[in-house]
Amino acid sequence: MINKTVANADEAVKDIFDNATLMLGGFGLCGIPENCIAALIRKGVRGLTCISNNAGVDDFGIGLMLKTKQVKKMISSYVGENAEFERQLLSGELEVELIPQGTLATRCMMAGYGIPAFYTPAGVGTEVANQKETRNFKGKEYLMEHAFDADFAIVKAWKGDAAGNLVFRGTARNFNPLMAMAGKITIAEVEELVEVGELDPNEIHTPGIYVNRIFKGENYEKRIEQRTIRKG
């Protein structure tokens, strides 16, 4: 097996350059690459274009990189509640491209599948369709959408091994396996780095071929955005 392990987050992100395009896994604060985000802040790389479904909150997730003004552009489906985000957007410091969530997910997947373009009905007849080619298949209108092109994909998995195989847990899976397939360089941080051979080959979500670097993350906070409980 090919050994993809690196020592830590700082080593994993060391060649991420100013003005790079990054994919960052996670939905809300669930399944986000906490360690790599911290390392990117320590590194101070700037001018980033971030493809991520959401933009974190003011004091966690990608929100932390917004505070340090490292992000030039967000490509997201929902940017939620984030005061600093709103301030930068209104002041023109930050650019935002909003994309339907299914289209965002599929554009990642298609990059990993080597399919340059595909058709989806999402956004037909809306401003999302501006400048886009439409086409009718069997009486229904579709937009042509393109695979993303990202310099780096940064994902967070539950378990992984040195060969780069990844397993996700619960809804922390979300965009992570899609982005893992889509980066020119894919960096995976995992809660548990297990021995090669320990993962059941039937249960691997991301085969190691898609992963270039893997490391065991530390001190996961796994913050909850909406803690909803029932009494009992």
């Binding site: 339907p100 009905p121 909803t228 029932r230």
Partner: protein, 218 residues
């Protein structure tokens, strides 16, 4: 008397059938889950990547890795499956979801919907709404009939940027239940005690009131 939010949800829940896969949006739509009839098998899909959503967790069950599309902590049920967001929207686009319930800012008489953007205000994004409305075969909108200014949200044409075109089949407001067809809102049922005149006053789009329209009962 106008319906409460719970009653809107309760009325929409009557659309449920045994064996339905259902996607519920944030807000009133979420409440529909509380009115699934006992013994009826309905499976809830959450578009972040979950089929078979259970109720909110007890305090000691909270799991940061298990949330719904509203980013709320939830639980699983026997038979639950997790998957990535591309497969999730694959299910949606390939019309495996039998019923989709969404909130809206405006609905037009030809079934257009606007629910994601108000020009001049901070835009948070469409999330999965555009995928859902473009794909779902059976969409019910749950909303108030008028906006805070008292203006009808059932319009001849949407004034806000669209989320989707000609896609909404039914609307339930606090005043009535409407089917959208042939370019008009067809009143199917009235909220208890609400008059047709009040409906007419608060429907800007083309309205069809059939003879002997029924009143809802709860």
């Amino acid at each position: 008397m106008a319906l409460t939010k719970e009653q809107i949800a309760q009325r929409i829940a009557r659309e449920l059938q045994n064996g339905f896969y259902v996607n519920l949006g944030i807000g009133i739509p979420t409440l529909v889950a509380n009115y699934i009839p006992q013994g009826m098998n309905v499976v809830l899909q959450s578009e972040n990547g979950l089929l078979g959503m259970g109720p909110f967790p007890y305090e000691n069950e909270v799991d940061a890795d298990i949330i719904n599309a509203g980013k709320q902590t939830i639980t699983t049920l026997p038979g639950t499956s997790f998957f990535d967001s591309a497969m999730s929207f694959g299910m949606i686009r390939s019309q495996r979801i039998d019923l989709t319930v969404l909130g809206a800012m405006e609905v037009s008489e030809n079934g257009d919907i606007a629910n994601w953007k108000i020009p001049g205000k901070m835009v948070k994004g469409m999330g999965g709404a555009m995928d859902l409305v473009a794909s779902a075969k059976n969409i019910v909108v749950a909303m108030m009939q008028t906006n805070p200014k008292g203006e009808s949200k059932l319009l001849p044409a949407c004034t806000l940027p669209l989320t989707g075109q000609k896609c909404i089949k039914k609307v339930c407001t606090e005043l009535g239940y409407y089917e959208i067809k042939d370019g008009a809102f067809h009143l199917i049922e009235l909220a208890p005690g609400v008059t047709v005149n009040e409906i007419k006053a608060k429907t800007a789009g083309k309205l069809v009131v059939p003879d002997g329209v029924r009143e809802m009962t709860f």
